[in-house]
Symmetry: C2
Subunit: 116 residues, 2 copies
């Protein structure tokens, strides 16, 4: 069993084109022996956003802190702590921080799509 405080996991900048003010921690992945899915925790800075993009695998998301929006079929839908999202494979999405503090959320994906 591995136990680690999330803040001890290195924070890495999201370098993907279209990302602004985004960083993430790879909390659990195949490198830890996770066979099925990977857990990442994102920090989106005030005014920042993830890319508007899509990919051939799903996201499961839990909003931890802050407020923001998610792009869904052309509309920005408001998000707050405790919101849970299932974003199916191939569906376009983007998270934006619309608040005055960091937007933090857990985002899980199938293990084989997490590079490290």
């Amino acid at each position: 069993m591995t136990i680690i405080p999330i803040n001890q996991v290195p924070l890495e900048k999201v370098e993907m084109p279209g990302a602004e003010g985004c960083a993430y921690r790879v909390a659990i992945s195949r490198r830890d022996g996770a066979p099925t899915f990977a857990m990442r925790v994102f920090d989106v800075a005030v005014g920042g956003h993830t890319p508007l993009h899509q990919h051939p695998y799903e996201h499961e998301v839990f909003i931890l802190e802050g407020v923001g929006t998610v792009w869904r079929e052309g509309n920005d839908v408001a998000l707050q702590p405790g919101d849970v999202l299932l974003i199916p494979a191939d569906e376009k999405h983007q998270f934006k921080n619309t608040g005055s503090g960091t937007l933090k959320f857990i985002c899980l994906i199938p293990a084989q799509f997490q590079k490290c």
Copy 2:
């Protein structure tokens, strides 16, 4: 894309033998179309605990609120919000609430092992 506040998901009592004061919400599962893994959010009441048990699939856990312990190889290890756990398949474990408020954590498993 499905978006739901976690508190709108029904809270179900954990009826497993050895569980005390445990309830959970099935936030995302195959019934929502999740193909790979299921997200559940547990509430363990003050003084409560999950069963000391094991099963042939992993857990990925994120502690949201409260304080408690997890049984690891005979020792109860302290947990606090922000702690992340990978519990491998077949490893015995038990969560206990040792605080004065509800212990809340996210616990994910492979989709095929979530019954509803």
